[in-house]
Amino acid sequence: METKPPSDLPQFENIGPPATLRSRVRAEIARTPAPTISNARARMVAALATVPVLTAAIVLIASEVVYGHAAMGLVVAAQSTSRLLSVSILITALVIVSTVVALWRGSNGMGAGVVLLTLVAGCIAPIYAAIVLPSPLHEAQAQILVDISPWGTRCFAIAALVSTIALASFASALHRAVPVAGRIRGAALGAAAGAWAGLALFAFCPSGDQPHLLVGHVMPIVVFTLIGTLALSRALRP
């Protein structure tokens, strides 16, 4: 649909801001300290470094405490090594893509477009579910080898911890940085944080039980997508 050229409607005169407004603005700005560009870069670098390091630390410590072995999900009774590798690559790719899209500022400083953000916000949980649910990576017998929490409550708690750290780091990196599409960007950041939790659980949990996977592994992604939608919008706007 093409709009008509603007030549046929009258437009208003250009009226500049009054001098009093200029002095008000100057006075307000003189009173307000503001960070410089290096702080913003430092926050972004810190976020990108913090999330993988803390996620790995949480997985290793939790797995050691709960199962007595580091990264139990990668060790116990996987159906095949090639499938373990392919699922690892898929989930890692999901994490990287969602993080890059959600955190990308673009050349204009307004971040990724709404279509891309909507795709990330809406597709991460279904894609993750499609990877882990239809044919679980671990054999059902794995559950008798280790003590897996029913309905994935323990996994949900670990996912919540990882997602909270990731979401806080991402929000800090984009704090007051993106003036448009706050809600959908918050949703994409929530989905990316959830994807990090999904990666952590993939390494942590050897369960092949579908209800467990649905509640403990997939549900946190959905929950944190919603949390991002509702909670981050204000923090992201300048």
Binding site: I15, T36, M110
Partner: protein, 238 residues
């Protein structure tokens, strides 16, 4: 109803005089060719980008230049966005304050004016939400239309001058009445002369949606102006 008003209010011969009078009364007709304006605008945008980059790095001395380049267009945008002059002034001031606080997040080379437009709209939407939660009686004394001062006209009759001012009142009133989404799309596309893609970036949506919103706003304005006795420039058959 529209045709009756048109035929009884304005004779055909008043078209040209009315056009002159609209210009004299503070309105102007937009030149449909974008190329004539694009070159100086680009140079100004580049200069503003360089200055904004220095400002983002902490060089406070360039603020006056940034303000000087940005203020006229930003103020005009705020006045079209807000419905009252006082509200537009507050929006303008708050936008500069937020720009100052968020300067560290400015992306080098980005169009600083578009980024500031996005901040201004974010500020306005926040105020709008606040006003919806805390409704108050608003007088018409500070309406934008009443502040659009008329320039003296030498060669037009008082009747056409009054009629031209009336058209601007109609425009301002109709802009106030329409939805914020349609209004901001119309103002960015038709008054600030952004491309659909640029406007979509500022508004956090897609170019197609921006065009649709601007078209709706345009049709609404045209219908209101027609009902008030205005006829399209060059349309002698009406």
């Amino acid at each position: 109803m529209t045709e009756v008003v048109v035929s009884t209010t304005l004779p055909k011969s008043t078209d040209t005089v009315l056009s002159c009078s609209l210009v004299a009364a503070g309105a102007y007709f937009v030149d449909s060719s974008r190329t004539s304006l694009s070159a100086p605008m680009d140079a100004q945008a580049q200069l503003l980008s360089v200055l904004m980059e220095r400002y983002a790095k902490g060089d406070d001395d360039v603020f006056e230049q940034v303000y000087g380049l940005m203020a006229p267009q930003l103020y005009r945008f705020c006045r079209r966005l807000a419905t009252r002059t006082s509200e537009a002034d507050d929006c303008f001031q708050e936008t500069f304050l937020k720009l100052h606080r968020a300067r560290a997040t400015y992306i080098s080379g980005a169009n600083a004016l578009h980024w500031t437009f996005a901040i201004a709209r974010s500020v306005y939407l926040t105020r709008l939400r606040y006003c919806r939660r805390h409704p108050e009686e608003v007088g018409a004394a500070n309406d934008v239309a009443e502040q659009d001062s008329a320039l003296p006209a030498d060669n037009v009759s008082p009747e056409t001058e009054v009629l031209a001012e009336h058209m601007l009142d109609v425009m301002a009133g109709e802009l106030r009445r329409m939805s914020e989404k349609n209004r901001s799309a119309y103002v960015l596309l038709k008054e600030e002369r952004l491309s659909a893609k640029e406007a979509a970036t500022v508004l956090g949506t897609t170019p197609v949606v921006v065009k649709q919103r601007a078209h709706r706003a345009y049709e609404q304005l045209r219908a209101a102006l027609s009902a008030a006795g205005w006829r399209e420039h060059g349309n002698e058959a009406t």
